[in-house]
């Protein structure tokens, strides 16, 4: 069932409109950029609540397509997958925006920071709502452009180098998508997302080209933003950005846009039927990415870099579930978009709180910090437990479904990979907790206070959400189940 709802233009456009108002108003009044960024985040969230309500009733929320020219059109349509992603992103945006108020205090160029931070929200909504490959591609490219000023926020040599790397990686990936798009259009004559994929990919393709050759373009193209090993090196470099940016963009919006787009490509462009023929090869690449990310994470001494490598490994989980192309794998993968998003954002926000209070970024400098910042580090410990996937936390639920999906696909080896990776996750996260709580801190650490309230409250709220997503995992699974039959 289709439901036309013009309101869904608003989440995409509102942040941009807010930007214009923000720039005008902030010249006259102080802190206007904060008012506008939080207002647009809240409004976008409210609209997404409405959207997800209609979607859970079985409707597909859409607006009529906006014809760009005779072969391309901008079209928004929200199904269950898109609604979930949009809901998740807009919810977290509120908390991280509030957190940014505290974190950015005293930093330079706040107006630019909040302006682009808010614009990214609209672009992420565009990705979630897009109903065809062209719309997705446009917003995918825009996301790169709009996050660039956030990555290079410090404008020192290191930040500019990281920014350059980020642009080159992202644009190269997007160029592959563009080529893939032309190929798909030449073959099928349409770029729309069709549940179950285009039928053209089920038979033989012209000139005996295997479907896998087409898929490689999308796999590598979207793999860049999904930080798939060996295309990952922009992500740790981009950690020079302010921590809220690392948290929101490089744990949620940007990288999740990568895996979300990959899901669209697998289920709505090629279709599970076509992917089943060759998915085993890609699954092994992803399994390698999972283990490689974890192993490298252990070797990192910088807290944010360690979390970045952890992201690389965890995104592999999502891709694994998506590429298994069976219903339980899909559920596990998409569930992990939600769960990993919440867990990783909490971990990053803890790291940001530590940086704000102590300026420490290295793990071995955190001795005894647990006594000084008990709430922050307590939440950090909790999030670590969730990420390792100890029952009854949310991380456990997604891993459970991923394991079942692997077995359904006849790949018991992948279960071993998941277990090994859980072990490695424990090996790179628990020592931090140990150092924080069970070693005696030096004098420098002993004077440290708990994080300021504007940072602590969002952190606590997100920690509750993280626990809730474990407790109410069945609700999310039910929600996704409604869309399963059409995708398969």
């Amino acid at each position: 069932m289709e439901k036309t709802m013009w309101l869904i233009y608003l989440p995409v456009l509102l942040p941009v409109l807010g930007l214009v108002l923000m720039i005008r108003a902030s010249k006259k009044y102080i802190l206007m950029e904060r008012v506008f960024s939080i207002t647009s985040a809240v409004l976008v969230f409210i609209i997404n609540v409405g959207v997800i309500y209609w979607v859970s009733k079985g409707y597909t929320v859409s607006v009529p397509p906006l014809k760009v020219n005779n072969f391309l059109q901008i079209h928004f349509q929200v199904d269950r997958l898109g609604a979930l992603f949009a809901f998740l992103a807009s919810l977290m945006w509120i908390f991280v925006t509030v957190y940014s108020f505290g974190y950015m205090r005293g930093h330079a160029k706040q107006l630019r920071y909040f302006a682009f931070f808010t614009v990214c929200l609209g672009i992420t909504m565009g990705i979630a709502y897009s109903a065809n490959l062209f719309t997705l591609y446009i917003f995918y490219e825009l996301l790169t452009v709009a996050t660039y000023p956030l990555v290079v926020h410090k404008e020192d040599k290191k930040a500019l180098d990281a920014g350059k790397k980020y642009l080159i990686y992202s644009f190269s990936g997007a160029a592959l998508i563009l080529i893939g798009m032309i190929l798909v259009y030449a073959l099928t004559g349409t770029l729309d997302f069709v549940p179950g994929g285009g039928t053209a990919f089920r038979g033989a393709l012209p000139m005996g080209v295997p479907v896998a050759a087409y898929f490689v373009l999308f796999f590598v193209g979207f793999g860049v933003k999904s930080a798939l090993v060996p295309l990952h090196s922009w992500l740790p470099a981009a950690m020079v950005a302010p921590t809220p940016v690392s948290a929101l963009l490089h744990a949620v919006a940007v990288v999740k846009a990568g895996v979300f787009s990959m899901t669209r490509a697998v289920y709505y462009v090629f279709g599970p039927e076509a992917i089943k023929g060759f998915n085993a090869y890609f699954v092994y690449i992803v399994a390698f990415s999972i283990l490689f990310g974890s192993v490298l994470a252990i070797g990192q001494t910088n807290l944010k870099r360690r979390l970045a490598y952890s992201t690389i490994s965890q995104l592999g989980y999502v891709l694994l579930g998506v590429l298994l192309v069976n219903s339980r794998g899909y559920t596990g993968g998409v569930l992990h978009i939600v769960n990993h998003g919440l867990i990783k954002i909490v971990l990053f926000l803890c790291a940001g709180a530590i940086i704000t209070r102590t300026g420490k970024t290295e793990i071995n400098q955190l001795k005894g910090i647990g006594k000084q910042m008990p709430v922050t580090m307590g939440i950090f410990a909790l999030a670590s437990v969730c990420l390792v996937g100890i029952p009854p936390t949310n991380g456990f639920v997604s891993k459970w479904y991923l394991s079942l999906g692997s077995l359904d696909a006849g790949q018991p080896l992948l279960v071993a990979v998941l277990l090994l990776s859980a072990l490695l996750t424990a090996a790179y996260l628990f020592p931090i907790v140990g150092i924080a709580f069970f070693t005696k801190g030096d004098r420098e650490i002993q004077g440290v206070e708990e994080a300021p309230r504007s940072m602590l409250y969002p952190l606590v709220a997100l920690a509750f959400l993280m626990l809730a997503s474990g407790a109410f995992a069945d609700r999310i699974i039910d929600f996704l189940a409604g869309g399963l039959e059409e995708a398969f």
Binding site: N69, F134, Y137, E141, L167, F171, A175, L178, I179, I182
Partner: protein, 480 residues
């Protein structure tokens, strides 16, 4: 009456060129007014001609022994020519202020305009040759305008290569008349094929004009030493006159050589690929913006040649649309290069740092043009690449799609850094202290740039008359 309009479009700039030379001796403002009126008149004439052509009025006519032809393809070239010329003349009023020999400058500018418009409306090889020579030789005066030793060197090189090209074309035309006893495009394609030597002569002559590798060596020098208001026309239009010749050659003059799987098709394709790649790779190494833009032109002409040589419907649409897209992008980029030199005396790309804070509108225009050059959607450059990509798939040659991709990536490497560099640093080469204030161009220079950029965006977002013209022209060319 119908015949009068295309004729007037060619003749008015021609007469105005002679008059303006005289007018300049009397009063500067009179000359400026006359030059502007002539180019604006040509522009308005072309617009009304486009309306007629879109309604299906296609015709040939003969006056004073010359054969003229009005169809979709000719109005495409005439439109981009008259638009860019009008913009450049508006831009010149400020840009050329206080520089040497203004009368000579404006007169040769209008003569070149008449030549390019003549090429667009020529109905046979003889007419093509006459106007081709006019469009090739007059720019010599414009290239050496600054009278520096580099300018003289570049202009001589240009002149020698143009003369060689002209002789070869003359040979081709003579042989065509000898074999066919006529030069009319609508009949020479059928019947007995031309001798191979004539084909090669045409090929080299158009290749020189179009700056196709390995015949390009005049282009980077000529396009970078001439005044920017001229470079934008040379890079935006006159090289396309060569590409226009290629279309005439492949589809009208000697179609017999360009059947599927013919070796000549492969020759063209390889020339295209080498131009695309070499142009981009050399552009990466350039330190001066105008040289970078010149090498980029070589690469972009490769795109058009690729579209022509793919011999598919959508490929040719891409090539014809790129006439439009490239002339707007490259025209505005050269104007921006000139503006930056004019205002800040900056010629090196690395000196663009911080410029975005002083000249935000100009640098935003640069950014849009750069995005379009790379082929990001919603800009005109993307539309042509899209059609070229589909055309190469239609031809069953996905290799060329890979070439397009690679060249887009190379474009990113040389077009983006100046744009990024312009907006992020806090100081500029001239102002190390910071506290930069807005210091924009004079409106007479800014408005032409903005108008061209508006065209780039309009052409990328909307279904436009250029796309319609390109597909109608393709349908007409392909039916033969």
């Amino acid at each position: 009456m119908e015949n009068m309009l295309p004729l007037a479009i060619i003749v008015v700039p021609f007469i105005a060129a002679l008059l303006s030379f005289a007018a300049g001796k009397i009063d500067k403002r009179m000359r400026d007014g006359l030059v502007f009126a002539a180019s604006a008149g040509a522009f308005v004439g072309v617009i009304s001609l486009i309306r007629m052509v879109l309604q299906g009025s296609i015709y040939t006519f003969k006056t004073y022994g010359l054969l003229f032809r009005v169809d979709e393809m000719s109005v495409i070239l005439a439109f981009v020519t008259s638009t860019l010329w009008l913009m450049s003349i508006v831009y010149s009023t400020k840009y050329m202020e206080g520089k040497n020999n203004p009368d000579r400058y404006y007169a040769s500018l209008l003569l070149t305009l008449a030549g390019c418009l003549g090429v667009a409306f020529s109905g046979g090889v003889m007419e093509l040759f006459i106007f081709f020579e006019m469009a090739s030789l007059v720019p010599y005066v414009l290239i050496l305008h600054s009278h520096s030793s580099q300018a003289h060197k570049a202009a001589s090189k240009y002149l020698y290569m143009s003369i060689v090209g002209g002789f070869l074309m003359f040979y081709g035309v003579v042989v065509t008349y000898w074999v066919k006893e006529t030069g009319d495009f609508s009949v020479i394609g059928s019947g007995e094929a031309l001798p191979v030597t004539a084909l090669v002569a045409f090929l080299i002559s158009f290749g020189i004009k179009g700056g196709i590798v390995p015949l390009h060596s005049w282009l980077p020098d000529a396009h970078s030493v001439s005044p920017s208001s001229v470079s934008c026309l040379l890079s935006g239009i006159t090289v396309k006159v060569g590409m226009f010749g290629f279309i005439k050659l492949v589809y009208y003059i000697s179609p017999a050589y360009f059947s599927e799987n013919s070796v000549w098709v492969d020759v063209l394709l390889w020339m295209a690929v080498i131009s695309i790649m070499l142009g981009s790779i050399v552009a990466i190494g350039q330190k001066r913006i105008k040289r970078m833009l010149a090498y980029s032109t070589i690469s972009q002409m490769g795109y058009i040649l690729l579209g022509i040589a793919l011999m598919t419907h959508r490929g040719l649409v891409g090539a014809l649309y790129h006439f439009f897209a490239h002339s707007l992008m490259k025209g505005s980029l050269f104007m921006i290069a000139g503006a930056v030199k004019h205002k800040k005396d900056i010629v090196y790309l690395e000196d663009f740092r911080g410029l975005g804070r002083e000249m935000p509108i100009t640098m935003m225009c640069y950014t849009v043009a750069a995005l379009s050059m790379v082929g990001i959607p919603l800009f005109s450059g993307f539309t042509s690449k899209w059609y070229l990509g589909l055309g190469s798939l239609d031809a069953g040659k996905p290799f060329y799609l890979g070439v397009l991709l690679l060249s887009s990536l190379l474009n990113v490497i040389y077009f983006f850094p100046p744009a990024i560099n312009a907006f992020f640093p806090k100081d500029t080469v001239h102002n190390k202290k910071g506290a930069l204030r807005m210091d924009e161009l004079h409106p007479l220079m800014l408005v032409p740039i903005m108008a061209l950029i508006a065209g780039v965006i309009y052409g990328g977002i909307f279904d436009n008359f250029m796309l319609e013209l390109a597909s109608k022209a393709t349908a007409r060319i392909m039916i033969r």
